[in-house]
Amino acid sequence: MTSRRPYVESPVIMSTVRLVAPFVLTFGIFVTLHGASSPGGGFQGGVIVASVIVMLSFAYGIDLTWEWLDKRVLVGITAGGVALFGGIALGAVLLGGQFLELAVYPVKDAVKYGIELVEVGIAMIVTGVIVSLFFALARGAMPPAGETDADTERGGNEAAATDGGNGSASPSAESTDGGENA
């Protein structure tokens, strides 16, 4: 359906997203960092932060947003979250405590700040995974380059990348009958 048609920019959606996105991002970070004192935490905050990227994709086009994203940052956020959580857990062992025994850190209110750092790590993992998943699903299962009209809206370098991405199992089978949708 809509995926076969080229993306059409909507000024209403674009300006709404431009206005709302900074507040949603702030709310996501707030939910993450304030999870120790109010409802929320890393899982919820991470999802809200990821939804900013999803919103931007809906307003400015999925492929454009994907090109704009720095993939190293995406990988870094996801793996860095695991490393942060694991590092805090193992750091306690280095300081003579047990795995995840946050109280051994020589800081005032070590448990509280440890918990908040762990929440940040969780939020990083969740954000990275959801953003990657969204783009994998939204851009994935696209037909290989040069087979259907769906490629016209995409850049050449990306179309080349699709060739490598889709293996022998061809997800383009269902897109060839796209004409039925009219």
Binding site: I115, V129, E174, N181
Partner: protein
């Protein structure tokens, strides 16, 4: 016992769940499913579980709906489809209803909300320990977060790494070089 807002939300949730299962048009089912998640989120808040409500609203009503939508956007859809339901397997439906009533019959045996440890031998002791000691142990006001990270840190670490590993696995299965 049940306020009208709880009753209304429960009715809404059950109706949207039934519609999600029975609508033939997948797009309509996804939209109704988003409504179901929103109803559940509000119900959690009404039942004083705002952490769960926030998760349900963000994940269930928000991200899951979007992921479902971008998934079916890659399929073809017959337009002009009237609002029809799938053919109901009546024997399975009757079995489900019987099962639901069998489970509902156990509800009166549950301990009352907020009952002490003596009424709830399985979890009462540990939950009242958390409620009494969480602030002194961790200096964190939200007891849910204290339990999640301080008392149940191993579980949460496993949970977070499972999210990471599942993400890696799904991206591998989708056979796409996402991180080109």
């Amino acid at each position: 016992m049940i306020t009208w807002i709880e009753g209304g939300l429960l009715l809404f949730v059950v109706l949207t769940a039934l519609m999600t299962a029975m609508l033939r048009d997948v797009l309509a089912a996804i939209i109704v499913f988003g409504g179901y998640s929103l109803g559940m989120a509000i119900l959690w808040v009404v039942l004083q579980a705002p952490d769960v409500g926030l998760t349900e609203a963000a994940v269930g009503a928000g991200v899951m709906t979007v992921l479902f939508l971008v998934t079916i956007a890659r399929t073809t859809r017959m337009t002009g489809l009237e609002v029809t339901t799938v053919d109901v397997n009546w024997s399975a439906a009757v079995l489900c209803v019987v099962f639901v009533f069998a489970v509902l019959a156990t509800v009166p045996a549950l301990p009352a909300v907020g009952a002490g440890p003596e009424a709830n031998p399985a979890f009462g002791e540990v939950s009242s320990y958390y409620i009494e000691n969480a602030y002194d142990d961790t200096h964190v006001e939200n007891v849910v977060t204290a339990v999640l990270v301080a008392y149940r840190g191993f579980d949460t670490f496993g949970e977070a790494t499972v999210v990471f590993a599942a993400g890696v696995a799904v991206l591998t299965v989708l056979r796409r070089e996402v991180f080109e």
